[in-house]
Every structure is written in C-alpha cells, then in structure tokens.
Amino acid sequence: MRSARCSPNHVRMNQLQGKIALITGASKGLGRAIALAFAREGAALALCARGEPALQAVASECRLLGVEVLAVPADIANPADRERLVSLTLARFGAVDVLVNNASTLGPTPLPLLVDTDPQAFEDVVRVNLTAPFLISRSLVGAMLLRGSGVVINVSSDAAVNGYPGWGGYSAAKAGLDGLTRVWAAELAGSGVTVVSVDPGDMDTEMHRAALPDDDPTALALPEYVAPAFVRLAAGGALPARLEARELLEQVAR
C-alpha cells in the first residue's frame, strides 16, 4: 500500500514530449516538484522564482533529466519582471503550451487575524496570488488562442472555499483565483485553451510549515506525490474548472 509519504514510481512516459511549460514559483515546494515531474515527462521548461540560487539548482536538476530549461529570476508582482519572464520565454521557445500559476505568498507569518492585517500586506498577497496570475495568463492566452491550444493551471487551495482564521488575504486571493478560472473557462470554452484551478491538498512544504508550524509534517503528503496530477492536467483534455489533486491522483493510479 502506498503511504502519503512515498512518492509514486516515476516511469518516464514522455507524456509531455515536445511541450513547453512555464512554471512560476519553481524553486521549492510544489513548484519544484512540478518542474521535476514535467522534466521527467520530457517538457521543455521556463522556470521562475525570486531566489536565484534555489531556482538555478532546480533548473540544473531538470537539465540532468535531459530537457531544455530557461531559468528567469523574477518577482511576478513586478510588471517589468513579468514582461521579462514572458518575453524571454517566448523568445527562447516560441510558444508556451502549459502555464502553471503556482507562485504564491502567505503574507506575514505568524498569520494575523483579518482585523490585525496590515493593509499593504493584504494588497501584496492579492497582487502575487491573484493579479499576477491573471496578468501572466493574459500575456500568454492570446498566443494560445491563435494556435488553438494551451493549458493554464492555477494552483488553488482549500482556503479558497473554507474560512480558516488567519488565512484572510490568502483565502480571499485564492477564492478570487478560482473565480477567475471559472470565467476564463467559460469564455474560452471550445477554443482549445483550457484553464483549470487545482487544489493540491495539504503538503509538507516550507509554506505549510510557516503557516501551521504545529502540524506534524510526517502526516502530510510530499509535493512529489501530488505532482503527477499536474502532469495529467498538462497533458490536456476536457476538465472541470476546479478540481482537487486527490481526484486526479486516483485517476492516475487507476
């Protein structure tokens, strides 16, 4: 039986051979796991994160798997950085088949109650978790529409649908991201471009430890366990606008 701590066996299937994926927040946690999973499946990668050393380390790991990688140190909250990310990616690869809007921020930790939340911190969380994914998608969806294909995966959270004390800005932004996904999906139906929100579930990541320092990390799934769900999503096909990684993993295991 497979425990939540184990990662599934990775048999390279080249499911993403010939595809180009842009992953934000790729230096650690889920973003890193998705990058490695995509690399194992043969996708060329554009990776971004704020911290350059960690980003370059992930890029090197992916290159060892035999794929072409562009690493762009960038803060997606910054408009010039976003343009640099999009333009360098398009200049290198000519197109983006899969966009994973994974980068997100909790804001200050320990997580404050809404009534104690600094207004600027709230705005910063919304900018990174909601506005930036919208703007990066907007920059790339036009080209996807022209080619009649593309997948945009927005990384959501159960905080988007539940009200946990302390998760105010994050929760509101993720709920907004789900709303954005539903509208994208409705507007792009039949265009060949798919937009989905996926809730990866609780994972043992740096972000989870910062948010919930008292949780037992050994009881949590590793991001590597969840990443195959993203491979399934990246491969395309008809999908509902919002889903949980858990459901996909069940499909993948079948």
């Binding site: 640099r84 333009s87 360098l88 197109a95 036009g142 529409l145």
Partner: protein, 342 residues
Amino acid sequence: MIAVETDFPQLPPALRASQPAERRGIRRDQVKLLVIDRKAEAVHHARFDRLGDMLSPGDLLVVNTSRVLPAGVRAVRASGQAIQLRPCVRRAGSWDALCVQPGPPFENIALAEGETLRIGEAVVTVAGRRTDIPLLWRLRLETADDLELILRHGEPIRYSYVPEPLPLDSYQTVYASHPGSAEAPSAGRPFSWELLAALRGRGVGLADVVLHTGLSSFQDDAFDAEHHLFEEWFEVSPETARAVNMAERVVAVGTTVVRALESAATWEGRVVPGRNWTRLSVGPERPPRAVDALITGLHEPQASHFDLLRAFVPEALLRRAYAEAVERGYLWHEFGDSALII
C-alpha cells in the same frame, strides 16, 4: 530615395493620439474606422468593431504577432552622460542603434568611434556609423543575450506627442507572441479577441506572420522625409503561406504584414514560406502581388508609410480620405484610429 510631396494640410497637433483607446474611455476595438472603398471610389466612416460588415467568408486576415520590446534602452557614456539607445537592427552581438537624449524631445546625440558605453554592467563599443544611415551607430555588444539587456534596461520608445511614459503592455496587440519589435506593429492594436473570435465565427480566416519592426523615425524631420530604407527580419510559416495562397482575399493587418508577405511572394504573387531579412519597399513602383486589402493606422502623409499606401490607393482618393479623416477628427499614430483599404 523618393521625397514625398508635402502639400497636405498640416495635421492639427490635437489629433495626435496621446494615449490608448482604453485610457480615453472606449474599448480598444471601438476606435474609428475609415473605409476606403477602391472599387466604388468612396470613403465611408465606421467603427472598428464593425469590421465584420466589410469582410466576407473566405477573406483571410493576416496579423503580425511580433511583440514590442522596451527598445528605448538606458545607457551611460564614459563621461557620465545619460543617453538612450534605440536598436533599429539587432544581430547577434551587434546593434545598429539611434542614440538620443533619455527624455523629450529625444534629440540625436553624436557618439565617437571607439568610445565605450555602459548598459547596466554591460559594456558596448561604438564601432562606427552605418554608411547608408549615418544616424545609426554600429554598436558591438559583449553579451550574446541582448534581449535580457533590453528587457532589464529599456522602456517603450515614445514620441513627444505621448506626454507620459506608458506601460509596455499598452503597446502590445492581443496576440503579440514573438518578442523583437522596436516599435509596436500598431495596426493590429484595435483588435480585441472578442472581435477576432466573432470574425472567425463568420468564416473569416486568421493567419499570422512575424516582422520585427525597426524605427519609424530617426528623430530628424529632414532625414526622415528622405525615406531611408533598412532591413527588417520576417518569418512566414508554411501554414500561413498555404492559407494566403488559398484565400479569396488577403487582408494584411498593417504595413509590416504587407512587407513580410510581399517579401515572401514570387513575381506572380505566390507566397513561399521563409525567414530572412528584407529590404523590400512596396510602393507604386512595386505594387503588392500577394496582398489584396489593408488595415492600417493613420500616419502623417510625410511618413514613408504613405508611399506604401499609394501602392494600394490612387493618390486622389487617398488625399480625399485623409482630408475627411482630419475633418472628422480621426486620431493619428500608434494609439489612434484605423483605416481599411478594401
């Protein structure tokens, strides 16, 4: 070189669009559309989002997917003087670039052969001037990755009728996907995806080419009036060539698309796929062979743009259309209104 006649009425400065439609309270696809109907020798006035009324199933719209770069690049001379470099022709490791003041009125600044400039940490050496266009400096770059330099140190190229710097996004078309233009291929700017989808729904085809634009002005009126030609990079895919060759009517979105398709056209008007530099000048002496109709922005008659329009429209009709556009307050330049020559 052909000097353009300049007996047109002067364009009132108020008609130079200083900001994009969205900032003037209308959608990008709600700009005015001047329709020049060559068969009827008539001029109509419409709105861009009604373009579908003028097109038919079987028509093929060809757009330029080049993405505009922030090609006004901040640089510093050894003396500490701040300058702006505007790369017009980019090749691996070298630029042919204009050197201007870093702010309005962006007048030319003369460099010295052999002097070194800095863009951030990168060192650039002035190798000389271009012999055909002496306002362009031949610059040697020590880095292979000039795109990173431009994206880190550039801002959109701006002319003095645009009083405030605007975000680069204001200049992009909704389908911009191949970074490389110094200035916006602005004829396609009024298209929204809503309009493109509606046109596709009516049976109008959509194909794309890439042509990376150089500079539209050398910041010297007398020099600009002499029509200096320079090379631009274009790409026409096999899919686009096939679509163009099969289309009943090919509608180029912008003069950049005309240049790309005509550069790829054989003498009998068949388009063959290819990618290359082009120095082609389409005008009355070299009329279009592959392109049948044109959507274009409105630019001043003195601009070299006008010579290309004369390849499509008899000059008398063109003058009448321009006069009506001025009379009716059409806005000009990259953020202005639009024209359809059909």
